[in-house]
Symmetry: C2
Subunit: 249 residues, 2 copies
């Protein structure tokens, strides 16, 4: 059973504003996709459509935010927004602020981002990205009769490696993990602990064809039908390592 993966961006997705009908825009893009495909959509456009945007002009930073901002050479209002999105500061030094978000992600700036947002506004991560993915899948099904799997992705840094990779922060209809522990290899030996982070690898593949400066927010990934499910499934929340099992930090 040989597999073939393909990924390409959907053309013609315009600048997204609060309340935008993402399902309608994807359905109207003219791209062909089926129930077996995976649509990987950048967090930024989901956040904008959901109105998960804050204007820094409206933010009144606390003493704590001001102090942290001074140490990190950041805008105190931005730091306040990051703190509002976080449950824990993981690291704050040399201009870098890494936190654990309300959603459970450990990432730089709690995912708060000023690029590709008009004016002095910043985007926040969707409040519940798995729910966002399920809603988008349902809306696509209602509109087109086709319900591809949905992944919502963002670019995260890594502990010991430079550069960012896209990971899944939300998903629906895609098995987030492929647990193959206990299976045998070609020689009959048990496979080493092998739990493939399918949704993260799908997001990474989409990241390779996305042009961040452009508007290629939506990527169709084909060839993952063995991981696509009719049920929405556990979502990307299943990719979060429970805090007490966090062996790497």
């Amino acid at each position: 059973m040989s597999l073939r993966l393909a990924a390409e961006p959907l053309p013609g997705i315009p600048e997204i504003v609060s309340g935008a009908d993402l399902a309608g825009l994807i359905a109207g893009s003219g791209a062909a996709f089926g129930d077996d495909d995976v649509i990987v959509i950048a967090q930024k456009v989901v956040s904008k459509a959901e109105g998960r945007v804050r204007a820094l002009a409206d933010v009144d930073p606390s003493e704590h935010a001001r102090g942290l901002a001074g140490n990190l050479d950041k805008d105190p209002r931005l730091v306040q927004v990051i703190l509002d999105e976080s449950v824990e500061i993981v690291r704050a030094e040399r201009g870098v602020l890494i936190t654990r978000t309300h959603q459970g992600f450990v990432c730089a700036n709690a995912g708060v981002d000023a690029s590709n947002v008009p004016g002095d506004a910043v985007t926040l991560l969707p409040e519940d990205p798995d729910s966002s993915a399920r809603d988008l899948r349902t809306a696509l099904r209602a509109r087109t009769g086709v319900a591809p799997a949905i992944v919502i992705s963002d670019s995260f840094g890594r502990a010991w490696r430079l550069g960012q990779v896209e990971v899944a922060i939300g998903c629906a209809g895609l098995q987030p993990l492929d647990d193959r522990r206990g299976e045998r290899d070609a020689l009959g030996a048990e496979l080493a602990a092998t739990v493939l982070a399918v949704a993260d690898e799908a997001a990474a593949a989409a990241g390779l064809v996305r042009n961040k400066a452009g508007r290629e927010a939506v990527v169709v990934v084909r060839g993952l039908e063995r991981f696509v499910t009719a049920e929405d499934g556990a979502g990307a929340g299943a990719l979060l390592r429970p805090r007490e099992e966090d062996l790497f930090s």
Copy 2:
């Protein structure tokens, strides 16, 4: 400029033994690939071809290895091999041993792996995976006149996320990082710190089409020509975060 990514395994790569001619096997697989393509090859077969294999029967574990093995419920000889491959233990608890390897990778078991290896032998990571990638590229060029980029990949766990993703442990002819800091977004604002880990995302894409229980050790990835270079370049060593900049641990 729309992009399209495709990834598919090379058929017919047999079980690899020490001294195997990987370039010859890839050239003889009948697969078409060009100078613009990326060949992602699993660490396991490179290690086997390079004889980076140890028989546990030949290993005499130290007191330290025995103590650690007792705590972790692991084979003391395996723990000794892991220690031999490591410069530092990052975490040792609940059956998990994470170390920093001589090559600078932080990963479980120093990349030492017993699956897909005959008998009681284990594979070690290549001593210098970037050098292995360059050598393979040179050998492919000599044999076929075509020099695709080469990525050597392995599956690594992540600090705060469950599951493993394939990452690049060696590469030649592929830009490992795409540094877009300072560029402007579609709205004219500067892009947030955006350094795409190209080689890791290429490895992840390959990971989605690999069948670990089978022998799909070699995957051709097409559509990354903008990251493929005539020079072998910095290699995957450029993906290692300098220890003093390690902000996440």
